[in-house]
């Protein structure tokens, strides 16, 4: 994958060598290392927070915290998992802050109008746009722990082990949240819309 400067790291520039350089204080190496995950990380924050400007702010904060903590990273998990864990903590902190505000800002489904993949045929886009809207609205309406579970497992496609580690809970607790989240989304969207989508 291309780095933040759009260049594809050469074969010799492995994640391990970038990590070693970053831990020695090389900002450019840190950017190349973390830049490989920047789009996914931003997407995760956008989906969890539902607000692009806030997701941009938190994404900058995540990278700063990762940079400040890079020397403490010992490779007990993958770098990706470690970075996502920081993102999850920052997203939760932002959501808690939001919840404490007198007039809490809720995620408006209209704010979370994510584009469809360009390779999708126009007819299929039209067919699925209603379902996408309903799903996005249902996800946005979930309590943060349930939203996190379904986003990490189903949207991001992470394994249960990885997703549980990022969410900071046991695999059993994570599964419980995931199943609850799916049941709530199913109830919100309705069986008819789901079954007729032909998924």
């Amino acid at each position: 994958m291309a780095g933040p400067d759009g260049q594809v790291p050469d074969a010799a520039e492995t994640e391990a060598s970038l990590l070693a350089r970053a831990q020695a204080g090389d900002v450019a190496a840190f950017e190349r290392l973390s830049g490989a995950y920047a789009d996914r990380l931003f997407m995760l924050l956008y989906r969890l927070l539902g607000d692009r400007a806030e997701a941009e702010d938190i994404a900058q904060e995540v990278m700063l915290r990762a940079w400040r903590g890079i020397t403490r990273f010992r490779g007990q998990s993958s770098y990706f998992t470690w970075l996502y864990r920081i993102a999850m903590n920052e997203a939760n902190r932002a959501l808690e802050k939001r919840a404490r505000r007198p007039a809490g800002v809720s995620i408006g489904a209209q704010e979370l109008e994510l584009p469809t993949a360009p390779e999708e045929e126009p007819s299929r886009q039209a067919e699925n746009s209603e379902l996408r809207r309903a799903l996005n609205q249902a996800l946005a309406g979930l309590p943060p722990p349930l939203r996190t579970a379904i986003v990490l497992r189903d949207v991001e496609g992470l394994s249960t082990q990885e997703a549980a580690e990022i969410a900071g809970v046991s695999q059993a607790a994570f599964k419980s949240r995931l199943h609850q989240a799916r049941l709530r989304v199913r109830a919100a969207v309705g069986d008819e819309a789901l079954v007729s989508s032909g998924g």
């Binding site: 204080g25 997407m43 941009e56 400040r68 799903l135 189903d154 069986d191 789901l194």
Partner: protein
């Protein structure tokens, strides 16, 4: 007259549809849900709906259309090389 166990099987099945499609049920529990769903239109449809839900949610990633902002490393650049080193002693 209601059949003993029928309502509880239905409620139990409805609560475990996600476990079912995820493959999280033990064989005996899976057989219980299978047996119930064969005679229950709602639960048969529920299984199809849950499978469709997981499939549809997986299609929401939209990664191709979203990019991280160009400013994502701005605070790191401001902190500079000392930003990482200084935290070592923090």
């Amino acid at each position: 007259m209601s059949m003993p166990g029928l309502a509880s099987d239905h409620e139990w099945s409805q609560r475990h549809l996600s476990h079912y499609v995820e493959g999280d049920l033990r064989p005996r529990a899976r057989r219980r849900l299978d047996r119930h769903a064969r005679g229950c239109v709602d639960c048969g449809r529920g299984i199809r709906a849950m499978r469709a839900l997981v499939y549809a949610v997986q299609g929401l990633d939209g990664l191709a259309g979203i990019r991280a902002p160009a400013t994502i490393f701005d605070r790191v650049r401001l902190a500079g090389p000392g930003g990482a080193a200084s935290s070592q002693n923090a």
